[in-house]
């Protein structure tokens, strides 16, 4: 399974129109993500990291280039069609956690199952919460948690659908280095134990060094 390519991008471009000028956020990027590997995307601010992971997670569509996710060609698909691609296959973790404030920890974790039309088995939710180290917080609201705990909930939410790829945009960016380290450990554990692929962006070179591979972006191109 090690060489099973889950995501494959060729010559990916993502251009934004800003008034009369065109911002080339991504300008010809080739990338492959295989099952069970961790890929770290590095690069200075504005280099296109977020733009790239948004494409890889089917949250956004490329302006040009070929993109295959889970065996499906994605370039040229509408938002309506992209939903079907990301559902169940991809789990997304944000820098700002983005938990639903009115829902408890367990409910946040179970939320993606609702949209998949799957029943949230309590045992399954408990398993996910245990995996992210929040077994004793199931009934808490996000506002009652620390930043690190919130990110654990977000990871649990991403894992609840048992995705094949976990995508995280600066997941430790809002956490202190110690907490960030712990979150990164959690990511590594899921890669090891569940065989999911991990794509994450970071400014933290120490964390990047612990990934299987790194990609470095500058001005929308891969430079290393």
């Amino acid at each position: 399974m090690a060489n099973d390519i889950l995501i494959s991008g060729r010559n990916l471009r993502r251009h934004y129109r800003r008034g009369s000028e065109t911002v080339k956020a991504l300008d010809g990027v080739d990338v492959d993500v295989r099952a069970g590997e961790s890929v770290c995307v590095l690069g200075p601010s504005g280099s296109g990291k977020t733009t790239l992971v948004n494409l890889l997670s089917a949250l956004d569509a490329p302006t040009a280039g070929e993109l295959t996710i889970g065996g499906r060609r994605v370039d040229g698909l509408s938002e309506r069609e992209l939903v079907g691609v990301r559902r169940g296959l991809l789990g997304y973790v944000f820098q700002q956690f983005h938990l639903i404030p009115t829902l408890t920890v367990a409910e946040n974790v179970a939320l993606p199952l609702l949209f998949l039309g799957r029943k949230a088995e309590p045992a399954e939710i408990a398993r996910v919460l245990a995996a992210v180290g929040l077994a004793d917080r199931a009934g808490h609201l996000p506002k009652e948690l620390s930043g690190g705990q919130m990110q654990r909930v977000a990871i649990g939410r991403a894992l609840a659908v048992r995705p094949r790829v976990l995508i995280a945009d600066e997941p430790t960016g809002n956490l202190d280095s110690h907490t960030g380290e712990a979150i990164f450990d959690l990511f590594q554990k899921t890669v090891r134990e569940d065989g999911v692929a991990l794509v994450l962006t970071t400014h933290n070179l120490a964390l990047a060094a612990r990934c299987d591979r790194t990609l470095t972006l500058a001005d929308g191109r891969i430079v290393a």
Binding site: L59, R86, R87, Q96, H98, I100, F115
Partner: protein, 415 residues
Amino acid sequence: MTYSALAWKNLVRRPVRTALTAGGVALAVAVAVSLGGFNLGYRQAIAGSIEQLGFQVMVMAKGCPYEAATMMLKGGTGLLYLPEEAHAQIRTDPDIEAITPIFIGIAEKQNYSLDGSPAASAFTILSGVDLDSFRAMKPWLKLKTGAGYDGGRWFAPDSTNEVVMGYEAAEYEQRKVGDVFYVSVVPNGKVDPELHAFTVVGVLERTGAQDDGTVFLPLRAAQTAFGRENELTIIGIKLKEFNGIRMREFEGRWLKIPEVQVVSLEQVKGALVSLVGTAQTMVAAVAVIAVLVAVIGVVNSVLTSVHERTGEIGVLKAVGAGRGQIFRLVWLETLLTSLAGAVPGSLLAAGGARLTDAALRHLLNIGVTQPLVRITPGLLGAAILGAVVLGLLAGIWPAGRAAGLRPVEAIRSGE
């Protein structure tokens, strides 16, 4: 976790906004239900009250027919009289099945409190009737029985001091069989009132009509008391065959008596219905405005909530929610808001029906005794259904907007 639970949690997140929006819906539903109840009730009330008169045609002194009609239902003031010979003439008409002469007068009640000092006085309707023909016209009239009412009977046709009281009149005056009922009457052409002490010989059961508030006595006794020996107030007539043609023929035959007019109760009904129709249009306008305002309120509230949650909706999409699912979620919020207003609004209207009835009665003053506002379970169901349908319509726009958000942009704008 269900969509409804998710929608509900979003609504209670902003309790004041949700409550105000639902309150607007409740108000609109309450107005609409009251209007609907009025619509259901008033025709029936008018028809019922007219039915209870027992006759289809009446002959009365010339005057405003509207006034005449409402007077008949209300027993109001401004009574006009016609000569009694008219009765003798008209009763020979071949098309008549039944006919009864009626004399109505207004008397002042003389109430004495327990210590014998005069207490509040008010007016009462005295109705002089020809017993046999009157009872034939209203076969449903029954004398009350039971403690205090046993031995009740109709007055003797030639008595001068016996009365039978309608249900409410007796209740109000606290009179039972055998009691004395004092009234004073100013006879026609005199200045000073004359006191009469009537013996209550019977009390009628409730009819739900004007008769409940009336005090009955023999026709002759009433005419004598009011000093109008050969006069009548109305002549009630039932035709053998009642339709427009027969009615016009009958009217044509008796227009020759100069002092009288022939009024069909169908006409009266039509006049009252159209009178009420005007008020109804007014209430309908208010209802339409209230409903519009409520719909706008719901749209506005849900749009605002969607706008506030743009980022959150982006996140829901990022974790797998499709267009249809976001639409469904926001639509459910609109639906729940509408229901949260519609149910209390309906209950409010049902609970306040008597108040609405009283207000309309005050506004219209048509002298109909039966309830003008009838709120049925079907009406409440229809109102709630209507609110749900309107709520769903109101939800289409905000839900469509939410559903159409692109996740990346939504999340960015929410940050």
